[in-house]
Symmetry: C3
Subunit: 298 residues, 3 copies
């Protein structure tokens, strides 16, 4: 089985399928081809969300704003899976998730950086074909054939593919971490005890849900929050509020998201990818946090 | 084979695919993942349109505005097929179609109601897992695993699955029925003889075709109608009118639909799901129905 | 394997899948179902782009503005592939590509015309079922069953299918050819030497890239051009210009396309399918073409 992910829209991915079927009779499974265009961080987010659900297979994921530049093609081997795509960081969050190292996914501000393969927790290979592709469509001309070859050769013997060799480094990608806000009470901040957290929007999904980097655990036991000055309920399900109402909920990815029932959260909260989100929780029963009261009613 | 239908957009359904492939090597076939969001009636309409074309397989269809509430998960067994999804009525129209009981699909106004399983014409099972899922993504966490288990266990032995037992009742869904209009001449109305029919729009498809609940037989032998006061031709095919022109035709689902060639019928006719549609046919050769003349030229 | 292409959107193609799976357990591969609606030329372009990437299989492609009219259903056999669809020209460009006759694809202005099967370079069969389908959904009722039957019968023995017989003619489709412009210096125009070329937009893809009929070879060795009076760089990759900038590049289909990095080329260049595109190259080092200077700065 080979899964395909891209930002190519339609009908470009079909050309990749044809190329693969010329080389193998593996099953092809579409993950998505409408991932946010040329958005490496969104790709990393969604691939981390989806790929760990699969049994160990080959995943070909091409979100590649650097196509035509010097960036390498890589294959990552982790937990029986193989990830094939450009060396731009997009494959790293799913690789960490597959390596069960999510807890180590701690922030460098969302920027890509160079990382050493020896500490990665997974194996990275670089692919340098003898005759470099000149095309603008590396999905069809580089990555699809490489994914087919990884499938045919076997994930455990990637090294045997011509042009594949262990990489010394790779472009890393770590999502930014939310930070405690609002003064001394947050000095001993943990996700469970924070009274105020500043995070940012990682991605907006197709329905306008603005998904943040704030873990859902931060809202445990809370039923209301002030998000960028707007007071909204924290609910388990959309059905808990009226149509058109804003809400904060924990999405299936485990993060807080800013949503509207039967509407678009990104518009109602005026939030897009990368925007700062300040989430302040009202005072708890023990009287702490009174100072937040006015924010709460903002 | 397992078919997948949802209103999840992208890339959420891919997580369901991964979950299924971890449990079975069944073929997965996408029906659609852009069904009208949280619209149980539209789901029922489209599933009834598509699923009976398939050979007997497992169908997992998740349009689930009640996710997170007390609604049950159900499996319907009918004609060798199994339908897996939430107990909200969306699975009932395709179940009736598969039971070859379409003729019994007579109106209660489109509302959902409670029905007794003994009269259903198909078997309904409820699924109550030991440890209830807390997630907001039951497509991935409840229905995908259940569909995989139904496939592995076999449709004829659904009862053997842990947590599955015969249901006593289920949420029914029947589409509204069109009604004769326009006075005494419609007293002996049948689909074939009606001079005026009031129905409603069931769904609007992706091209803007406003599909009504009026059966195509109502327009047999007619070449023109007045739809909500607008006189339009009744044609067999779009090519029979000029680009941009309004028309009434019988869609592949068997119902009259309000369309525009190379345009959107919903906009031209100002119609959306649930809107009332009055269709009046001009007088026939025997001179009846002169009173409709002015409507005809409205 | 059967590939499916259409302009049906969703969920109509799923009905075709069901129909096919009732008749064969062939693998079904979606090429695209959002091809430009009822646009035979765009269908020909995209099918020519995608289908030759596949190994020899059955391709069912239904872009069919003439559904319900007298147009025939055809099957084309070429290079081990079978193309199933309406006789409107849409299958001809991929058939020529599969016949390795692309070089013969020379222009009659993009119009469809009647062609003789004896010169085609591929075999054309017409399909006339005993009981003609009356439906508006020939994708489900004619082409899907026919594709399944071609698959089951075998591409080499299409003639054995009831209702299939060799065609004497078929509706041809050839894309228009670009022409040299700008006076005597273009008298001995070839794609390599032209200083000015007038072509047209064949299709606009989902990202707004306006793809022309001017072959990329026309721009070899050039780094700038004046497109309809607008001076833009010719680049290998989007990354060579700033976000929001216009550019001319050679797409993966081999033609020049008018694009914007992180934007829509069709809007920035004000171009749609069928629009004329004049591309003028600045003078080269040998001093020729000074007269183009003002156009260049237009």
């Amino acid at each position: 089985m080979i899964t395909l992910s891209s930002d190519f829209g339609s009908p470009y991915p079909a050309a990749m399928k044809g190329v693969i079927f010329r080389r193998t009779d593996a099953r092809i499974v579409d993950v998505a081809h409408d991932l946010p265009r040329q958005d490496v961080r969104a790709a990393g987010f969604w691939l981390r969300f989806v790929l760990p659900e699969f049994p160990p297979v080959v995943h070909c994921a091409v979100i590649d704003p650097g196509v035509g530049t010097e960036r390498d093609a890589i294959v990552i081997r982790v937990g029986g899976h193989a990830l094939v795509g450009p060396d731009n960081g997009s494959l790293v969050p799913p690789a960490r998730a597959l390596a069960d190292e999510d807890s180590a996914d701690r922030g460098s501000g969302g920027a890509s950086s160079e990382a050493d393969c020896r500490d990665a927790g997974f194996e990275v290979f670089v692919y340098r074909p003898e005759s470099p592709a000149s095309s603008t469509f590396h999905g069809r001309d580089v990555f699809a054939p490489l994914a087919a070859e990884v499938h045919e050769t076997g994930i455990s013997t990637i090294e045997e593919i011509d042009g594949v060799e262990p990489a010394e480094s790779f472009v890393d990608l770590r999502f930014p971490e939310p930070e405690p806000i609002d003064g001394p009470k947050t000095a001993d901040w943990t996700a469970e005890t924070a009274d105020g957290i500043a995070g940012e929007v990682l991605v907006v999904d197709g329905f306008g849900n603005a998904i943040t980097n704030v873990p859902g655990t931060a809202a445990e036991g809370r039923d209301r929050a002030v998000v960028n000055g707007m007071s909204v309920p924290i609910v388990d399900t959309f059905a808990d509020v009226d149509p058109g109402s804003c809400l904060l909920t924990v999405g299936s990815h485990g993060y807080l998201e800013c949503d509207v029932r039967e509407g678009r959260g990104d518009e109602a909260f005026d939030l897009g990818p990368g925007d700062r989100v300040e989430i302040v929780f009202p005072p708890t029963d023990d009287g702490s946090g009174d100072g937040l009261e006015e924010l709460r009613n903002g």
